[in-house]
Symmetry: C2
Subunit: 112 residues, 2 copies
DNA sequence: CTTATACATTCCTATATGGGAATGAGTCAA
DNA sequence: TTGACTCATTCCCATATAGGAATGTATAAG
């Protein structure tokens, strides 16, 4: 007999989770600095349109992309500011990897 | 009638997915610059030991942490170098957010 | 008004996986 | 050897979610 479990936490409201999906990273890469329509993205990445729309919704819900309606088309662009959250978080560790590089370098020089 | 689906791709072999889980980020934060045992982590973060072990396995599988056996204990430490992958990926967009800041600043100055 | 275009949304299925509980495995002390 | 510790692993369940198919909705064109 097993008791109830809680399963994993809801995460689609967190940029870290949003970029965990490779497809979504591809979309962001494609959109980097260039506004594009949904159909454009689908064609460029060889994905089904509904799939693209759904990924864009996830990205939008965490603020990673913004949209603009233009006639029948919906133009998306990245909101790179939202990526700073993640960039800065990783940056927390940069002091350590820099320290590591120093140690590696020092070690290499000791051997000479 | 619905055809077979493929579900989401396996991701636990990708640092982006590894840090998508809040608990795993907490572990990494705790380990930042400080080696710790599994029990230590569990106590500090108020998690069950098996849960910590499993998260550590995920982090280890993508190279985000390394371990060292010391008697009965297993000491873990971060491998911050692995975070550079993510940091660099976000960095791809930094030119855009810097551009955005310039635009915002310019716009603010125009209004004065 | 009718039709085509461009997206968004919904329904369904299959899969990945986090947590809980129990158990296995290795190490140290007496 | 026995028992206590420290982790890792396994089994199970419940949930989140990606993809496929079909459908809904809004806009533009004829």
């Amino acid at each position: 007999m097993y008791k109830t479990s809680v399963a994993r936490a809801t995460t689609t409201s967190d940029p870290f989770n949003a970029i965990a999906e490779p497809r979504r990273r591809h979309i962001l890469e494609l959109l980097a600095g260039e506004e594009r329509s949904v159909g454009d993205i689908a064609t460029a990445l060889e994905m089904e349109q509904p799939s693209v729309s759904k990924h864009l919704q996830v990205l939008r819900s965490v603020g990673l992309v913004t949209l603009r309606h233009h006639g029948r088309r919906t133009m998306y662009r990245t909101n790179p500011e939202a990526l700073r959250t993640i960039h800065d978080w990783c940056g927390m560790f940069s002091q350590y990897w820099r320290g590591q590089l120093r140690r590696i370098k020092a070690h290499a020089e000791d051997k000479r």
